[in-house]
């Protein structure tokens, strides 16, 4: 069952949104930020497939450009979380004892701040912007990866092959890199996919409340915020960006689940 339909659909959707984001760098049907007041609030048509908003901006072009914002914020944020969290978790597991205890206590504290609350704090201090969203989501992701890396590393440290490496004279740092890291790799990738989808959702949420990408950068969350008052007369301004988020997140989740299942038989065979 390594080729489950979920995995294929997930990979397909993810690829689709990645291509959409890349394509928007080169071409969108209209300039996503250009006002065209006479053409405002048009229903979907051959010219404007997804219609236009209250300033006459093309919704399709904004959905495409919004994909770019969402995906890049999420990638950088998850990458940041991984880059901080995984080494941190590996270190805590390798050090053990009191160091491990304090490291986990620290991650508990970060964990107690939901990403959004962290973003609120940062925005209160620095003002809104995509960078703050990246930092807030990234910092929140770090303990997720730290816990994952530490937990699976701890169980690996009890395994005999690690003991064998110590008998072979290898130090803790070297064992972490040579034996532990490759063995937690697939778990980190699976978790990364899940966190990526949460990142897309978080970016949309932050932009929606005005803590994300600042105008005029196109963003799915802000499109929805702006559509809220006009949803009654122009439902397409609310439906298409929302669907984009749903499909993008759905794709990433299916991809993550599919990868987990695909990796799993091997995981079981090893035990």
């Amino acid at each position: 069952m390594s080729r489950s339909p979920g995995l294929l659909v997930g990979a397909g959707l993810t690829l689709f949104f990645a291509l959409l984001a890349l394509a928007s760098l080169l071409w969108t049907p209209f300039d996503p930020t250009a006002f065209d007041v006479p053409a405002r609030l048009q229903a979907p048509s051959a010219a404007h497939w997804f219609g236009t908003d209250h300033f006459g901006r093309d919704v399709l072009s904004n959905v495409m450009a919004g994909a770019r914002t969402s995906i890049s914020v999420a990638i950088v944020a998850v990458g940041l979380g991984m880059a901080i969290g995984v080494p941190f978790g590996l270190f805590a597991a390798a050090a053990g004892g009191a160091v491990d205890e304090w490291a986990m206590r620290a991650s508990d504290i970060v964990f107690a701040f939901p990403a959004l609350i962290l973003a609120i704090l940062l925005t209160a201090v620095l003002g809104p912007g995509a960078l703050n969203a990246v930092i807030a989501i990234g910092v929140f992701n770090a303990p997720v990866f730290a816990r994952l890396a530490r937990g699976s590393a701890l169980s690996l440290w009890r395994r005999e092959f690690v003991l064998a490496a110590r008998v072979a004279g290898k130090g803790r740092a070297r064992i972490s890199v040579e034996h532990i890291l490759p063995n937690i790799g697939d778990l980190v990738i699976v978790q990364g996919t899940i966190q990526f989808s949460l990142g897309v959702l978080a970016e949309a949420g932050l932009s929606y409340v005005g803590l994300g990408a600042a105008p005029p950068t196109p963003s799915w969350g802000r499109m929805l915020a702006e559509s809220q008052t006009i949803a009654a007369i122009a439902p397409w301004t609310a439906i298409f960006p929302g669907l984009a988020i749903v499909l993008c997140v759905l794709g990433l989740n299916l991809l993550g689940d599919g990868l987990r299942d695909a990796f799993d038989p091997k995981l079981r065979a090893r035990r």
Partner: protein, 321 residues
Amino acid sequence: MTRAGAIASYAGRRFLSLALTLLAASVVIFVLLQIAPGDPAAYMMGLNADPRALEALRAELGLAGPPVERYLNWIGGVLRGDFGVSYTYRAPVSSLIAERLAVSGPLALLALALAVGVGLPLGAVAAARRGGPLDALIMAATQIGLAVPNFWFAILLVFVFSIVLGWASAGGFPGWDAGVLPALRSLLLPALVLALPQAAILARVMRSALIDAQGRQYMLTARAKGLSESEALRRHAFRNALIPALTIIGLQFSFLVAGGVIIENVFYLPGLGRLVFQAITQRDLIVVQGVVLVLVLIVVTVNFLVDIAYAVVDPRLRRPA
């Protein structure tokens, strides 16, 4: 040691850890808001502030003196229930928070109850009907539930209820003075929105935990005693599956609180979320500081309660660590 005694000693240890976490969180909040950006008074009054007014505000905010002293003053006040005075509302922050908590608290609890009440049974049904069409349906529904951003779902709901169905109030809050029922009714939609992704997660966790439990040898023992499959599931697998489900409830609660902050804005509910956003736009840092601390307190307290629930469900945790 008696069962209750063992749980109490476990709770004591967890409580220490809770206090430590809160203490550290308060330092982080204080450092971020009061020290990092420079002069909060100048920040709060904007660019063209009158120097004398600034001086007055500094004094009022207790910004004179070294940071350690200021922190101790603030935290000392907080411990006595004094969060300072709001600069824009000209009211004690504690009373502002108390007033808003009366909306945010019940909202979060209602959402949690909905998520648990819907998520766990759905997961159990899916596990019992594993591989069947009902399982596939529930799992597909949870995938959608996970992917729908709750503020979008909220917008759609408001649209459908207030505009298509013509229900008068799909937003706003009448206040508890208007009676419990109307107040609860106005919280129901927001709670439903908040509960959706949590219920989806819980259903998935419950299903996989039950399926995991079904593969354990104690289930074979139970069947060999003569229990039917569903009896064995109910009597043996369920309690074991509750352990991972509890973990997730604890972890997800912070998302629920954060989601609440956003959803209050969609439904125009006068809760902590609205308070904190207004405070940010008005640069009222004292309020931001207080609200964030309370939000963290809520999250940490719920995790503490989950830890206690853990010890009740799982006897293996009651041993001294």
